[in-house]
Symmetry: C2
Amino acid sequence: MKYDIKIPAPVLVVLSLLVFGFNPVRQNKITAPPDPLPSWNGGISKTTIIDFVTKTTKKDGKDFIPVADRIACFDNDGTLWSEQPMYFQLAFAIDQVKAMAPQHPEWKTTQPFQALLEGDIKTALAGGEKALMQIVMTTHAGMTTEAFEKTVKDWLTNATHPKTKKRYNEMIYQPMVELLKYLRSNGYKTFIVSGGGVDFMRPWVEQAYGIPPDQVVGSSGKVKYESLNGKPVLIKLPEINFIDDKEGKPVGIHQYIGKRPVFTAGNSDGDYAMLQWTSTAGGYPRFGMIVHHTDAEREWAYDRQSHIGKLEKGLDDAAKHNWLVVDMKKDWKKIYPNEK
Amino acid sequence: MKYDIKIPAPVLVVLSLLVFGFNPVRQNKITAPPDPLPSWNGGISKTTIIDFVTKTTKKDGKDFIPVADRIACFDNDGTLWSEQPMYFQLAFAIDQVKAMAPQHPEWKTTQPFQALLEGDIKTALAGGEKALMQIVMTTHAGMTTEAFEKTVKDWLTNATHPKTKKRYNEMIYQPMVELLKYLRSNGYKTFIVSGGGVDFMRPWVEQAYGIPPDQVVGSSGKVKYESLNGKPVLIKLPEINFIDDKEGKPVGIHQYIGKRPVFTAGNSDGDYAMLQWTSTAGGYPRFGMIVHHTDAEREWAYDRQSHIGKLEKGLDDAAKHNWLVVDMKKDWKKIYPNEK
């Protein structure tokens, strides 16, 4: 049996449109996908990145990596934001030393504080990593974790970089911010694995990079749980807990993340062990990236001779390990956000 | 102008169905949502949990918590899986001591190993937490992290619990597995914060609880990055790195997670500081839960007098802190998965 019903054409058109015309899947098929890395110039670097992400996320492909194993680790200083003419955390520490100096008259005759207060950074840092950590620990301890967090946030709001006059957290690399986002939109979980202090990074990296505090691995001081005026607090102690640098980076990855990364980016020989730990694992394809500072005009140019972010072994061995060396000057359309 | 087109009724029905009938949003409106906690009996515990999750996820409500701050921490032993008649990690360690004993003749006359090999657990544990960590560190060190991971997985495949005859990772609490899933489906990020070893938990907790390795905080030994036959490895050292128990739990939460939780569940006085750290924070609503072992028939019944999972201070102060005390016998429809 068959019923014929008269239906006005406009109604039929609307019905048909609802069924076929507004189909978002079909619409996507005729629109080119937006460039996921608009601040990267075309070329081998950009292509290599996109090829890796494409092949490792292609279901049933031989290079497929399950979502649970898509772990990507990024150094911070010199890889996600600038680090010249000194680590930004050191600039923070120096500002703290100056602010605290009136309560510490003994610093006038004690190194490395004396040199810092006299503006002689070179002498202050002559003691190497130990002097650095001494400055950091002294200026980062003796307060609650919450008070320290506020200090960091206040500093970022008020301090500006001597050369660029930008706020420090505006000196993050726009191409790397896009890379982090691109990886996450393809199921990668992004982590920071930095020699910098974890309590110094956590207050701002979520907003800057989209990386939540629990995905930040870094150097740290010990903290103690105690009661302050009847309220439980965590007090930062002037004692090193962990240094997340060089061979400490694979250790930090194990202790804090518990899985071997498939994607790692760094910029100095302090990242060598982390890159090696990533690229010598079997099983999945692995990606190692070195950000090479080649742009003296828009940022800084340094590698083998630099005392900050020294890159020598990494450059020598990059080809052997199949690490991608990113040429900032050539590969990056812009350096910082809010640039034309 | 108007066109009338004849259209067969069945076609119209199909078109209409496509537009209106298969609308999943509309379907949901007439179907009751499935119970998110089917293994929980109705009552104050279940209601309190659901009320908290509902109010903290209600956009524009006064108790709303943004997704980034929905941090939920769970103890493991006695909170997510059983811990009697001894911590399961200790059962693992004892099996390892037995397996390693032929290579260590000196253990026949050295405590706590002698007692363990003679089956005298009580004497072996007379040295308290230190003896426990000695056993754990000795049996958990001197191998690569990857070899240890395999040992744990093999043990879980082969070993069974003396009382239940179940595999140890089948002795997880089904109601807590549902709670973890319920929280995650409401934007909460779930973490383990356990006195147990992090390397012992990570190989199996993702499958058991849906918690990835980087969201597991626990006690740990130190590891060292070195070259073994030309290949980089991490060697587990017989040296304590961190003990994530009692006052160590808020410390671990700070060092590994970096945010103060809004939801915390534990079962013993070892979780007191973590519960206190959670519930004394300001700002958002906070939820503290204590799993009270009250079911001697289906699991175990113990609290104030127990040397494992002792719960005294927590029971005394639960009301004061507004912590929910879950009565396993009364509140849980079933204990383990795969039960009727």
